[in-house]
Structures are given as structure tokens and as C-alpha cells.
Symmetry: D2
Subunit: 467 residues, 4 copies
Amino acid sequence: MKYSEKRAEEISIAYIGGGSREWAWVFMKDLALEEQLSGTIRLFDIDYEAAYNNELIGNRLSARGDVKGKWAYRAVRSIEEALAGADFVIISILPGTFEEMASDVHAPEKYGIYQSVGDTVGPGGMIRALRTIPMFVEIAGAIRRYCPDAWVLNFTNPMTLCTRTLYEVFPDIRAYGCCHEVFGVKKLMKAALKEFLGIEESGIGDIYTNVLGINHFTWVSEASYKGIDLFPLYEKFVEKYHSQGYEEGEEHWLNSYFRSAERVKFDLFRRYGLIAAAGDRHLAEFVPYWYLRNPEMVEAWKFTLTPVSFRTSRREELVQKSLRLSAGKEDFVVEPSGEEGVAQIKALVGLQDLITNVNLPNRGQMEGMPRGAVVETNAVLKKNSVRPLLAGKLPDDVQNLAIRHVLNQEALLKAAMKEDRDLAFRAFINDPQLNTISLGDARSLFEEMLQNTARYLPEWLAKREME
Amino acid sequence: MKYSEKRAEEISIAYIGGGSREWAWVFMKDLALEEQLSGTIRLFDIDYEAAYNNELIGNRLSARGDVKGKWAYRAVRSIEEALAGADFVIISILPGTFEEMASDVHAPEKYGIYQSVGDTVGPGGMIRALRTIPMFVEIAGAIRRYCPDAWVLNFTNPMTLCTRTLYEVFPDIRAYGCCHEVFGVKKLMKAALKEFLGIEESGIGDIYTNVLGINHFTWVSEASYKGIDLFPLYEKFVEKYHSQGYEEGEEHWLNSYFRSAERVKFDLFRRYGLIAAAGDRHLAEFVPYWYLRNPEMVEAWKFTLTPVSFRTSRREELVQKSLRLSAGKEDFVVEPSGEEGVAQIKALVGLQDLITNVNLPNRGQMEGMPRGAVVETNAVLKKNSVRPLLAGKLPDDVQNLAIRHVLNQEALLKAAMKEDRDLAFRAFINDPQLNTISLGDARSLFEEMLQNTARYLPEWLAKREME
Amino acid sequence: MKYSEKRAEEISIAYIGGGSREWAWVFMKDLALEEQLSGTIRLFDIDYEAAYNNELIGNRLSARGDVKGKWAYRAVRSIEEALAGADFVIISILPGTFEEMASDVHAPEKYGIYQSVGDTVGPGGMIRALRTIPMFVEIAGAIRRYCPDAWVLNFTNPMTLCTRTLYEVFPDIRAYGCCHEVFGVKKLMKAALKEFLGIEESGIGDIYTNVLGINHFTWVSEASYKGIDLFPLYEKFVEKYHSQGYEEGEEHWLNSYFRSAERVKFDLFRRYGLIAAAGDRHLAEFVPYWYLRNPEMVEAWKFTLTPVSFRTSRREELVQKSLRLSAGKEDFVVEPSGEEGVAQIKALVGLQDLITNVNLPNRGQMEGMPRGAVVETNAVLKKNSVRPLLAGKLPDDVQNLAIRHVLNQEALLKAAMKEDRDLAFRAFINDPQLNTISLGDARSLFEEMLQNTARYLPEWLAKREME
Amino acid sequence: MKYSEKRAEEISIAYIGGGSREWAWVFMKDLALEEQLSGTIRLFDIDYEAAYNNELIGNRLSARGDVKGKWAYRAVRSIEEALAGADFVIISILPGTFEEMASDVHAPEKYGIYQSVGDTVGPGGMIRALRTIPMFVEIAGAIRRYCPDAWVLNFTNPMTLCTRTLYEVFPDIRAYGCCHEVFGVKKLMKAALKEFLGIEESGIGDIYTNVLGINHFTWVSEASYKGIDLFPLYEKFVEKYHSQGYEEGEEHWLNSYFRSAERVKFDLFRRYGLIAAAGDRHLAEFVPYWYLRNPEMVEAWKFTLTPVSFRTSRREELVQKSLRLSAGKEDFVVEPSGEEGVAQIKALVGLQDLITNVNLPNRGQMEGMPRGAVVETNAVLKKNSVRPLLAGKLPDDVQNLAIRHVLNQEALLKAAMKEDRDLAFRAFINDPQLNTISLGDARSLFEEMLQNTARYLPEWLAKREME
């Protein structure tokens, strides 16, 4: 990498999961808008064709006259080739396919267990973790060998356990997990500023929140916009909208599998006086007994259970679009995505400062959480430096909701690292979603879900246990 | 107090709850058997008559020729009188009456919440805590004023929060909580020694267990009898008895409201590979979703829901017996109770050493638990010294079951100390037994239970909240 | 206080030590340059005349046409009057007079103990602490009563113990200690940027350092200027200048009692590979055996012992200047001071963000240091929020140099709070400067120094102990 | 090993350093007195002849009719042979020879640095550590391979770093360090019991002390004999004897290189109100500026600098004795040594309980000390279990004396493990004994001492650094 006052050039980025048709494209477009950065991006994917298609798409994009950020894209056939000499590593993979994800999300339904996302906690998140951790063990090992000093940005879920695994395998890794979920609550604050104070132009970037918690179960304990304390404003907003819900755009929450009317968020604020930051679909999975007992309850709380069939069909459209893009039959509309990956890279090369929320092992930034467990708090990003702010501690009652998942994730990690099938099952039954079914049913579900994802499991997990 | 090599004399004991017809009698009888100790016992009770009756009973006992431990009993009318100059303080009170306890245990049943004891966690334990903490605030303050150097042995439930309150109010207090629940699991080990190794005479005192956890949810991570490791033996025992249960005496578990067939204990061992130490009725309340969902489930697991009506009727018998005893119409049969209070006093005056399990604020003896929270581990008792052993940490999965109660108890304490009704309710709904009902029902139950116990509550709790 | 997007008005500041002729003037001038802030400053000083003079000076300044920041200054006769309703409290007092300071610094010399400053650690710093802590006990109590929500900026030395006392007395206080010592090392980095990279214009504000340690014994573990890592550059600089020293301006270090040739700083870098951040005169007092054994050694290391006589004579000049200023016979030259107090206030009212080094009780920001001890690390200042960054930990060898002072300061605090003269003496003899003299001499020195400052001591310290 | 109620048989012990003519003989004799234990002892020593001689001596001893503990002794030629299948491992080696020790102790004298023992801290202890740590790395690795479940008792100095190394290399090792230094202070207590209370028969075993600190700098915070608090008694004793010293036997302290008049111990008690437990010769090395500045000071404090020449000449006598013993020309007088190794083995096989002081990594037993650093506190020894008691924390002032050595030892360990010569030197100069000489002299001394011990150093340490 070459740094000059206003630019960083010859940056070398490895993109693991480089065949992606969502995150990779967002990243390409954000880079295209940024004139202070340039270099090479090596795309690695177990689906080489997809990565190669993205090479074509990326290079077409760089060639456009209206594009300021010029990058050379190259699909590679091995992770080594991608990583060797990289300054940055982006990890954004789908662990398994939507087929496996369909099992994660829907297999438990026969026992009356419903999941709105199924990629973080709950039976789906846990089984997904069990097949993803071995992948991250491999990735971490490869980073240690081929680019130990690179900055590693993980976007893959389950965020906490993916990031945790990287550090477990390679404690000196310079990795962190990135998640945009907190932006959602800032949009609500923006709406409150507009509605109650008539402030139209507030930028998301000017809204400051002190973030603490774990990924997808993050909370805000302090919020301000310039000189204005946003807590009383948010309270007013919640009081106004909690019973009917709040829907910012024209689109109704029912029309999208990813939206909600924020009622879970509002309800949690009313319970605990602390602002829940993640999206309702994620939040609900951490306290399922209150919001997620059955589809009627979900409907009453005005959020959605995202069916995997929806993801599958959208995927088809994206494949088609990908072919059009690589063939030059369609062009990207290049607009800022609102995602922060590129801004973070700019900060790490020294072009700007940034305070944002990241997922990192706890070294004291979050009181009350076990040392080493991955927590989500703000950090200051500077030249070659990511330094968490002291986020404080969750109040005892909210901490109580979070800690059971933290400890369960730690147990899952140990199970995966020590190849301890029993411990994996004990973690499985400790999730609150599993408290409603019998031990026998839990055992059957566990085994069934493992079988459904067996293609992506190490042998010790894949083989069915004799009863 | 006067110490000579073989005896401690002129010991001054304050007995708070000195009208008790169970624990006080047990204590009297154990003292009567112990020739190395003598002195004065001042009995304080809000029911002065009961205390006075016990004065008569105690002095009659001391006067008996076959009694070796000679004590002067005196009922007093104020706590000051009891405490002034005390070397030891025994706290063994019933917070409120059985009427309040009936509400604790049975009021939640209309919402499908069943409790086997109702004095530790769950809705009953929590409401009991809310009325008991203010009593212990008062007691702790009085001890600081009248006998700050006394050793304080608490026997009152909820053990954890009572002991925790003493330290909250008077951090330099020399108090600890005593509980005999761990003896139960030692009896099972004794049975295993007999059954598998033919060892008949093993004394409970020779069975060593490393205890860790919180009161009534204690675990054993190490157990030996002289040179014999008891873990493999216990495992064999569990394998043999877990499906049918084990009943040591002739009496069937159904015949007593305090017995069980140990199936919960065995099941927990099979789940976690760690020995659960407390009785099944207590253990079940910490993980109610597995054992306590409804009376049928309780029956299947072969333990009992102890109805308060049973306690009330037994109380009547005891009152009658008390009158006969004080009038000299009946005499105690003096036999060792198996309780340890007297042995602990002997250790603290320097007459013997003792290693036993006690409840104390965590100063490092239990890794993973918050500092200051009351935990139950072994301690060494010596002359004027109670020093916990490093008990280690619970495995992540069991820790996960325990920590939610620990944090909840901490929240309850804060609520009580800061008079924060909202926080009290938030702790209430965080108990796993409350996860099964709606927020509205939880609110109604909370208010109803508070009203039922209002006579014993401070004003901020007693007054019904406007909705 | 009234906040509008670009301005904060009606800010109420209490200035404790408001008769100051150095810091108060600097503060006035910086405020005069800042157009986004305005309000009232109440000046309290035990020397009311001095405060009143500053009232005149301040109001004259505000009245000037070229001054953008308009403030109303008012001398008050009681601390209550100063604090009531304050948004900010500035504490910048001289604890005692230069007479007491003369004893602090020079009394130990007869035992061969030399001090370059004498206000932080060493015999002088410790005795100064003993007379200052009771003053801060009073100030903290008054803040709790009259303006518990105010932000409190302490500038008084000994910084660590003053700040520590505020939190000891009033744990919820929003106070921190401010110190400009770290700016010095940034100037050296600026010089290195110019000398080796030809970068002329680097602003101090663009140089980022990760600060950690305790006040006046601070270290830098990470330093960058935009995209440039400053560690290798600083190493080059040290290698070039360590033997002869570096003097930035034209003035020779011998000509000023406050300057040095940075040789101590360079030597510590060569020993430990970490950048010492404070000035040489301060650093040397923490490791006196290497730099401060006698005046010849000090001369060889090219720093100075600042005699108090110098301070006294400068004071005279300042008094004269003060009279001229208040009488309008002289005017301030208003230029930015380089101090940061005003910038910090701007950040706390929400007008800008700021990352700077502050002194705060350790809540996890510095690993290895005791919880609660005051440490110096970076923090992010935002609207109503000061949040430390995780600074990491000092390497074991440097930690070893620092921790003895940290523990000694904790012991001094306890001694002062519990009025324990013995503990105070034990802390006194634990300072490395006291290791070179006998216990008897240490006792004599301790008593003598206390007598010299007796006017400002509480009775338990002032009264000579019978031997 | 075979356990029956009253006996443990077929115990397999590996003795590393089995050619020892002091500790090994003590151990043999204590075993000879113990009828409940028997088995095999494999003696390994780099001096095979010495081990073989001990085989002969040991087997002769076992053959004696008056000997109750029957053991088979066998010298082996490799550490593998010694360890394979061992139930217990005794490590009691001399790292290097007396020639190396002569350098450790006496080389610093030319710089005015005197050491009374030179095997723990100070220049001698540190250089000794640097050559010993690699040996313990090897031993720990061998134990992991050949007997990972064995109990390992280390008697080798520097105790702290030897034990620390075992855990660094093999975290699951069941090792602890044993030291008899605390017995000394118990003898003083015994003397006080006799002198002031006329209690003649008090057994050392009945004196209870709460021990805390680090090896050779241990302290007692609580002491009792049955029902008697020994603190006031000890204070009286100190007041009587501190100025002249106390000498228990007939022999004058000057006549033995290992004795003292306890004046250092008494002086530390007078300074800190806490009982220093180790011998004066050891204590003085931790605070050399007060007791060890020069031979005159040592004489005034009435302890001794043990010259290595004395050890060398005694060694000659022992070699002669060894030949006589193995040839049957002399027989051991078999008497209890007062050492505890055999009693500890009895406890670990389950034949008795024991509370004694051991050296173990800090897992919470000593507040204020870094986790993992080896501390000395009491522990309960039971069947297969060594469990430390919570020892509390040293008061801040004493902690301050201890922590610098703890951190320095941690730094030395890191230096040794990472082969970091610079860090080793930085630790060296951080010892208080090195504060009195210049950096240049310290460097020369460091290099000289390393050269003197080069035969036993790894290459990275042995090779002289280019200046």
C-alpha cells in the first residue's frame, strides 16, 4: 500500500465470499464512489464461476468514466492466492446454501418453534454456527499464514461466533465484525428529531449513540444529536407509536419480509428504559417467549418471519441480474449504500477518523461480560488502529437477557473446538427457544437439523449418534 | 466469652426468631449434647409469647441431669437487648406468616405456575425476598450498632438475598448463611458406597464434596470418601436409579411433602455430568421448564409440591407440643440432629476445625460469578475465621442456568434498597417461571401478590400502582 | 444553558481558585477567542481580592471590541455561591502557598533527596497530597450539594489524588483531570515529521497518540500522523538526539527552570521501547534512582530542578501585572494558548467532538491497574459524555515502574480518608525517593515536612507525634 | 496405586534430582517412618552416580527392621524412565553447580550489591531463574508426555518461577511448590505461647496461620492456637525482642550461616503491623535498601550473608557421608524431619486431610495479584485435590513491596519463553537491588553473570551481545 496525504493506493484486498451478489456489489459500488482509495481486489469463492462473474462486473464498473474509485478485480481459485499480501480481508460468506438455511429456520416449526431470521441464536443460529465455525477455523489459519498483519472485516453471521472463532484460532488477528443493524434505531431518532423538533436535515452520522451488547441484541445507553439529548425525545416517540407501531416509508411492514413496525423495539424500551438497537426480527429471537411464541404473536407485534423460500426466489433474480451485469447488458446505478465498510477502510489507512460500532473480544470495554467473549460496542478507528470505547455495563435486568446467550455461544465454541457433541447439545437445549419442548424432542430436533446440514459439517458432528 | 483449652464458657448468643418451634428446638437439643460449650441465649421474637415459651423449654432442658451442655435461656422484648454484647447471632425467622407464604406459593397457580417450595426463586421466592430484605436491613443495622464483632449465622430463606442484604448494609459484618441441603447428596453417596463397595459405616463427615453454586442450586464438582473417588460411583448409582428413582428409607416419596425420589438430581447429572447437590424440590424451581410445568410433570419426576396448608396444620401440632414442653408435660428426646450450627460455633471459638459449605459474598471463591453476589462454597472454619476455598467455576452450560438467577437476585436487592418498584417488576418478569405468561398477566400477578403480603411490605411496595 | 445549533449560551461556570494569575488568565483568553460559547463565570478564591481583581480583568476583556467570546465575570465570597446551578466547575487551586511548596521541594534536600518539581510523587508530592486531599473532600461535598450534574474539570496537582478524592467522596461526580503534559511529546513528533519527512505544517491536533499511564508518568503506545506511523520516525529521532539532547527553540534548557533537553524521555524510550509522554522533570521523579540522585546527575541529563524561589519571584511580577490589568493600564494579548479546556467545554455542550487524554478512575480502560485508581488515557468527549478508550496495558517492565506509585497513592488516599497517620508514613517510606535514607531520618523528615505545612493540615496530621 | 482404608500401596514416585544428598535423604527418612505408604521410587539425576548411590542408601534403609515404610529405590538413566506411570513427581534439583551459584551470589559484590541467599530475587535469583526456566520447560514437557495426571511437588528455587514455568508449559499440570519457610514464624509463636502463657506443649501443627504473599516474601494475616488469637501475643513478643533480637536455641546466630536473630522479621512487623513469615535472609532480599545495603548493615540486623564457599565445603562432607551410607559403614538416624512432603502425599492419596501453604498460580486466592502469577497461600489437601483458600489481599503498602517482584518475575518468564534478551535485561534492572548502580554497570554485571553461567544457558542467552 502506498499512502500519500490525500490518497491510499495499491491497496490489496482479499474478498472471501467474492461470488456474493449482494454484499460484494454494495462494496463495489461504494468503492466506485470513493476517489481516495484504489488497488486490487482478489475474489475468492467456493463457487468460482460466481467470483469470476464478479471480476467481470467489477472491472466493467472500474472502466466507467463516471466512476472515481478505480480497482482491479480478479477472481482466484484458492484462498492462499486471495490472501497472500493482502492489506484487508473481507469475509462475507453464506455458510452452506439456502437449503441448509431452510432447515435452520423451518425444521423447528414442527415443534412449535418459530424463528424470524434463524441465523444468530435459537436452533437455527446454533446449527448454523456449528457448520460455520470450522470454516472460520480454516480462514483464520490461512490468514495467519498468508497475511497475519491484514485488517479483517467480517460480515458473516452468526457474527459473534464467526469473529470469536477468528480470535480463538489466531489471537493476534486484527479482525472485527461489522454490522449495520444499529443504523435502524438512528433512523428512528432522525424521525423523532424531525417530528418533535422540526429538524429535517439531521444526518445519521451526526447522531451519536453509545452502543453496548452483543450482535443483534445491541442496546443504546446514551444518544445525542449535536447538543441535544435524544433519550427524552425517543421516549416521547415511543409513547406515541408503541401501540400502533411506526412505519417510516410508504411500504407496509407486511409487504416486506425484512421490515417491522418497531413494536418489539418500543416494547423493550418500555420494559427496560434502555433503547434496543437491532431490528425487531433479530431482537425477538433473544427473548422469544415474549414475541415469538407463534405466528399470531408475531403478527400482533407487527414483524415478520422471513421464509427461506423468499431468499431462494430472490436469489434467482440476482443470478439473472449478475449475468446481465457481467455481459454488459445492465449497469449498476452507483449510489451510496449507507454501509460503512469503505469508510472503515479509509479510517484504517489514515485518511479520516471514524467512531462506529464493531464486534470485538471483550478486553474490558463491556463490564459484566466475560473476558474474550465477542461484544458489540463503539470503537475509534484510526490509522492501523481499532480501539473500543468503554461502553459501560448493561443494567442487571437486560444483562440477564443477554448473558445467557453469551455463555451459550461460548459453550458452542468450546463444543466446536473440542469436538464435543454432548456439549453442543447442552448448549442447544440452553437456548430459551428450546425451553418449551421436552428433552426427547430437543434431541430429535438436534439430530434432524444436523443431518440436514451434514454436507457442511465435520465428521464428528455429522455422524448420527447411536441412542 | 472465656476460652480454656477444652471448653468455651460464658458464650453469649442472640437468637433472632427465638420463638421458633423447629430450628430453635433443634439448636437447643444439639447444644444440650455438647459439653464443651456453655453460656447464655437471648431469645428475641416478634411473638414474645413464643420466645418466652422457648425460654421455659430451654431452661427445663438445661436443668435435666442427662444434659451436658448447660445454657441459660432468656426471652427479651427488644432486638437491642438480644444483641448487646453477643458473641454469636442466630437469625432464623419466618418472614411474615404462613398466610403470606400461601400467597407466595399458590397465587401463581391460577396462571399455571406451580412451585414446589416457593421460598427461593420463582414468583414466591421473589415476593418473599421483597418483604424480607427490609427486615434484614433492620437486623444488619442493629448488629452494627450492638455487636459489630459478633459472628452471624443466618438460616432464613431466601438465604442468598438475606445474607446479601446483611453485607449490603454492613460490609464488615461477620455473617454467613448456613444450609443443610448438601447433606442430601452425601446420603446418596453413602448409599452408593454401601451398595457398590459394601462400605457400611461411611460417615457423612468423611465424605468430601467440593461445593459450588448458589443456595438451593448448588453443585458438586469433586467428591471423595477417604481414598475413593466418588464420581464414578455416583455415575453408576445414577445409571441404576435414574429411571425409577431412588428412595432410601421405607417411606414412599408421595407420603411426605418434603421428599423426592431424586429423579431431578439424577436427570441433571445425566444432562451435565456434574452432581446437583440440593433437594429436587429446590432444584426444579431453578429450571422449571424441565420439571415443573404442571402437576403431572412433577408427579412423573417423583417429587412434590409442598402445599402451605400442610405447613399450617403442622404448625398447629407444634404449638400444642410447645405448650406441653414448657409446662413439663413432655420432654425432648435429645439426639444429634445432623445439623451443623453447634459444630460451627465450636469451630469459631477454636475448639475444632471444620470444612463445610457456607453462603458468602463472592470475593473470588467462585469464578464467573459477580463479585459480591452471595455464593455457596466450602469454607474452612477456625478460631474467629471463616475462609472460603477456591471452588472453581461452573461449566458454561450450568453457569448459564445459575447466572440468570444470580443477576435477578442482584436486581431484586437493588430494587429493594433503592425503593424502585419498576426494577422489582423487571426482576420479577426475568425469572424463568414468568416467561410463560403475558406481560399483562405478570403485572396482575405481581400486584396481587404484593397486596397479599402488604402487611409486611414497606410503603413504596405496598401501595398499589395506578395503571 | 441554552443550546442552539451553532452556539451554547447562558453557560454557568464556577471557577474554584478564581484568583489565579496564570491558569485563570489563560482560560479567559481562550474563552475570549471562542464565539460559540457565552455565559457567566463565578470566581471563588480564598483570596477574595485576587478573585475580585480577576472579575475586573475578565469583564474588561469581555468588553473589548476584538473579543468574540462574551462572558460575565463575578467574584463570589463562598463556594456555595460559585457552585449553585453551575454547568461546569473548574478547579485550579494552589494548595497552600509557595511557602509550603518550598518545604515540599527543598526540605528533603538535607537528606540528599532532590526533586525537580515536587508536586506529584516523592516526599514533596506526598505531603502536598496530604494537605490537598481534605480540600478536595470539601469541594466534592459542595459539588454534590450544589451542582451534582455539573462537569468538573480539575487542573490541580497532585492531579491523580485530587481527581481520585472527588470520586471517593462523590462516586457519581462527572469529573476528570486535565493535563497538557502529553502535548510536549507531540511537539517532538512534529519536529521529527519536519526533519525526516519535510512535513512542515503538521498540526498537533492531527497527531494521534494512544496515551496510557498515570498523570506525569504517561506513555504512548501508538502514534500516527494521518497515514504515517510515527513510531519508527520517533525512534530515528531518539537515535539522533539522545546523547546530546534536543532543544526545539532558540532558548537553552539551562535558561529556563521549566525546560529540558528531553534526554530522560529519550533514555526511557531506549530502555523500554515505549514513548514516555510527560516532561522530563516529571518523569524523573518516578524513577529517581536513574536521573535524580544528585544535582550533577540532573545536569548531565539536561533538565532542571525548579526552585520554589523562582516561582515566588515570578509570582510578584504577576501580582503587579494583575494590578495593571485590572486598572486598565495593560491589556491582554489574546492568542490561542494551546490549552484545551475551552475545546473540552465545546465538546461537552455538543458543539464538536474531541478525543483527548483525561484522568479518570479506572473502569477497565487500563488493564493491570487497580479498578478505581485514577489513570490517564484517551477519552471521547461528546455532548454530556466523557468515555475512555480502551488503552491496553503497559508492558510488564514499565507497569512495574508505575504500579508502585499507583498503590502508594491509593495508600495515601486511605490514610487521608481514615485519618491514619501510620499508614500515611508507611506510604511515605514506600516512595522510591525514600529508599535511600534510614527509617529514623525518614521519620524526622516526615514530621518536619508536616510541621512546615501544618497551617493547611487537619488536626490529626498537624499534631506532632510523641515518639 | 492401590488404596485400602488404612494404606496406599504400589505408589510410584519419580524423584527428579534423585542424587540429592539433602532433600532426598530427608524424604527417605520421613518415608521410612510412615507405615501407611509404600511403593517404588525412581531416582533420576544428571549425575547418575549420585542417584545410584541413593538407590543403594534407600534400599538399605528399607531393609532395616526398625523401618516401617518400605520402598523400592531404583536409579534410572532417563527422565522418561523416571516419569512413566508415576503417581507423584518430586522435583528437587540444583540448577547448575555451586560454581554457578558462587557467581550468582558474589559477582554483584564488586558493585556493592550483597545478597544473603541469592536464589530468589536480586541479581543472583534472576540469573538463576534464567538458567532454570529452560530446565523446567523440559521437565514440564516430559511430565505432559509421560505422566500427565501425576501430582508434582516442586522444591527447587527460585520456587515461584519454577512452578510458574510448569504451568506455562503444561497448564493442566497438577503441580505446586512446597516451602518450609513459614514454619519459622510458627516456632516464634510457639515460643511466645510458652513465654507469655506458659503453654509448653503447643504443636506446630496446632498453630494456624493465614499465609499470603509470594515465596520467601510470605506474610501472615491471621494466627491462632486453638482458641487463642496469636496476633496480640506476637506483638508483645516483638516488642520485647525487636531491639536485641531473639535466638531460640543455644547457638548464636553468628555461628551459623543459616540463622538470624529475627530482627528483620520484627522490624517488618513494626512497620506494617503484619507478620512477615519467611526467614530474615530471604525477606531482606525483597527490600534490600532497608537491610542489605552493606555487610555492616547486615550485621546490625543480625542475620548472615551465606557464602557459597560454605555450601561447597559442606557438600564435600556430604559426598563422604553418602559413600559411607551406601557402603553400609554408617546408618541414618531416622527421626521426623519436620518437613511436610510425606504428609502431603498421604493427604493426596486420601489417608488424611491437610491444610498447609503451597505455591500455585493465582486463580483468585490472592486478591490484587495478577491472575496466573504464582502466589503462596494455604490450601486444603484431600484425595486427589489441592484447593487454595481465599487468602485475602495484602494491605496496599505491603502489596507495593511484593508486586514489583511479582511483575518482574512475570517479565523474566516472558523473556525466557520468548527468548527476549532485552526484556530479560529490563527485568534485571527493575529489581530494587539494581537501582543503586548505573545502567552501564548493570549491563556489565548482567553480561558477566550470564557468561559465568553460560554452560547452563540456552544459546540466545549465553552468547555475549555485541555492544
